[in-house]
């Protein structure tokens, strides 16, 4: 009796590539993309990263002194957000997670808007500038479906525009993120999913999220393109997001771009990462700091001086300080706002509740029983 096994043939094959332009010390690994030879472009990218860092510092300080709600710093991840923001055209649409302040600023959301938002005023999501962009999304990963819907809208109208959707490494475990990518694949929607892999989802390590060697390979399940990019290398991020957007707009299909970076901050101001992560890991990662890397590159590539640095830094500080002052001086929202945007017109039965609110406000103002 002979013994055999079923006969197997290879029917499909995939690989994942990782892209980068700069080494950790800012040295170019090879010829850089055109835009990286443009001094203004480079300094604009650097400025945006610095502004983001200064903003995050300020926001954390405001939170620590009780003047802002819980806040998620993007310290160490500035190159991902700024890079993807810079790669987008103004009429592309950003569907962010909650840690892409760098991208939002690039696209015209003001620091003031985000302070209002994290300070607890919905007006912060009523920003000018990129008025079609989605607001910050709190339930992790749920924005991926929105991105697919927005991209479908662009496709149905035959527009040459695309969507960038950002999700965290943790979010890639969410079923709906996978489902949204799958749907995007089916219709070849003009969307780029950026997996902002900062190695942690609060206290859960990237390696505990999935046995997949890369997050980029989640694309394989959806039948879309997937690749990794060094997320601490803003030049590479810009280049790869631009290329993916080009594919998206031209109908070649969606891409999942995994940006490898690291969350140098606590998860949010409500977190204390020292409870779950070793100091050594953090200091090793500081050596890959994207801001320092681009600065090093600027120094060697365009002769960036410490004067330039100082000027830029104080310019950023002034801008953020001014935003903070305006924020702190802003009039609080009217109580009635909580009813004003429930529906286009307030249904009659809810009107009684609005009356109740007003009566309560009046009572409180008379000084009674302020709950």
């Amino acid at each position: 009796m002979t013994s055999g096994t079923p006969w197997g043939t290879e029917v499909a094959r995939f690989d994942v590539k990782r892209y980068g332009c700069l080494d950790a010390d800012g040295t170019a690994r090879g010829p850089l993309p055109d835009f990286a030879h443009d001094r203004d472009r480079l300094t604009a990218l650097y400025r945006a990263m610095l502004l983001t860092r200064v903003f995050d510092e300020k926001a954390v300080a405001l939170q620590r002194t009780g003047r802002l709600g819980t806040f998620p710093s993007s310290l160490g991840q500035e190159a991902v957000a700024v890079g993807l923001g810079a790669a987008m055209r103004p009429d592309d649409i950003l569907v962010p997670s909650f840690r892409e302040q760098g991208a939002q600023f690039w696209r015209g959301v003001r620091p003031l808007d985000l302070l209002l938002y994290w300070g607890g005023d919905e007006q912060g999501s009523n920003f000018g500038g990129p008025v079609e962009d989605f607001p910050i999304c709190v339930p992790v990963g749920t924005q991926a479906a929105h991105a697919a819907g927005v991209a479908l809208a662009l496709q149905l109208r035959g527009e040459q525009r695309a969507v960038v959707c950002v999700v965290g490494d943790g979010a890639t475990s969410r079923g709906d993120v996978n489902a949204a990518m799958n749907f995007a694949g089916v219709r070849r929607l003009p969307v780029v999913f950026v997996a902002n892999n900062n190695q942690w989802a609060i206290s859960v390590r990237r390696t505990a999220q999935t046995a997949a060697e890369t997050l980029a390979q989640k694309a394989v399940a959806a039948g879309i393109g997937g690749e990794q990019v060094d997320g601490n290398d803003v030049i590479a991020v810009v280049a790869r997001v631009e290329a993916a957007l080009e594919r998206a707009r031209s109908g070649t299909g969606p891409t999942l771009l995994e940006a490898l970076t690291y969350r140098l901050a606590d998860h949010t101001t409500a977190d204390d990462a020292s409870r779950y992560r070793a100091d050594g890991e953090l200091s090793a990662q500081w050596r890959l700091d994207p801001v320092a890397r681009l600065r090093a590159h600027l120094i060697s590539a365009i002769g960036w001086q410490s004067d330039d640095e100082q000027r830029l830094l104080s310019e950023c500080r002034d801008a953020i300080d001014a935003a903070a002052e305006t924020y702190l001086a802003a009039t609080p929202p009217e109580p009635t706002e909580m009813f004003d945007y429930l529906h286009a017109t307030l249904p009659e039965p809810v009107r009684h509740q609005l009356d109740d609110l007003l009566a309560n406000v009046a009572r409180n103002e008379r000084g009674h029983h302020d709950g």
Partner: protein, 326 residues
Amino acid sequence: MAELCLVEAVRLALERAMADDDRVLVLGEDVGRLGGVFRATEGLHARFGPDRVLDLPLSESIFCGVGVGLAAQGFRPVVEYQFMGFLYAGLEQLASHAARLRNRTRGRLTCPMVVRAPYGGGVHAPELHSESYEAILAHIPGLRVVIPSSPRRAYGLLLAAIADPDPVVFLEPKRIYRSVTEEVVDDGRPLPLDRCETIRAGDDLTLVSWGASLQETLVAADELAGDGIEAEVIDVATIKPLDTATILASVERTGRCVIVHEAPRTAGMGAEIAAQLADLGVTSLLAPVQRVTGYDTIPPLLRLEHLYLPDVGRILAAARRVREFA
């Protein structure tokens, strides 16, 4: 003018809305070539093509999310869930996003989306094909919830739901998809999304119901009339916002009320209506409000399903209790 059944009226409203406004899209499982498992979208794919009638991959958790994206971009997606039992997976998007987009962005982005689902029991289908949890949806701020109970109301309410600038959940009583017919004029006229409809006048008792249960409620009203008791019958139709005024005015007059719904009793919409009657009507009530509802159990498979759903006997028994209350 044609005699249509309820599901045909739904189809007609969809076709009319799509013809009048090309921002209207239909999305769901099997809504395309098949025309929906109940044929509610029959012919739409042929007429409007695959870019307006889209079969989605089988992933209910993103349907409403895709709708949110489309709606924020100015489309008017009508998303079908094949059965309400499979809408649980859509609740996160409905509650966390669809219902909140306008408020979250202070009106910058809005969500004119309709979510349709056949709902309710009594069609001898497998498990989880008989859900009826309108109360869960009604509890979520920012959603409108509509349940038509006749072809004409299905037509007018669905047009209104599609035209509404905010998200509306539109639940279709599949048990009466084909059993109730009436003439429906295809006039493109929406019905108000905040009005109960009094479908039978009476002074002795108010019967409040919606969806398929309205049929048994009407039979009960006829039986009561045989005993000389004239029941007013109200079709709630717009579950949220609830037209309390109409119900209250009736109960103030009759002093007695029975609410009939097939959803489980605890925290059902019957509770909300009864509570509002109690809030406002304590002086006029002559008897405690009775609720005839599905039980707080798992809806049984088809062998016992008829004993789970409110039937005429249970409605009559409740009506007699409120009549005889001293």
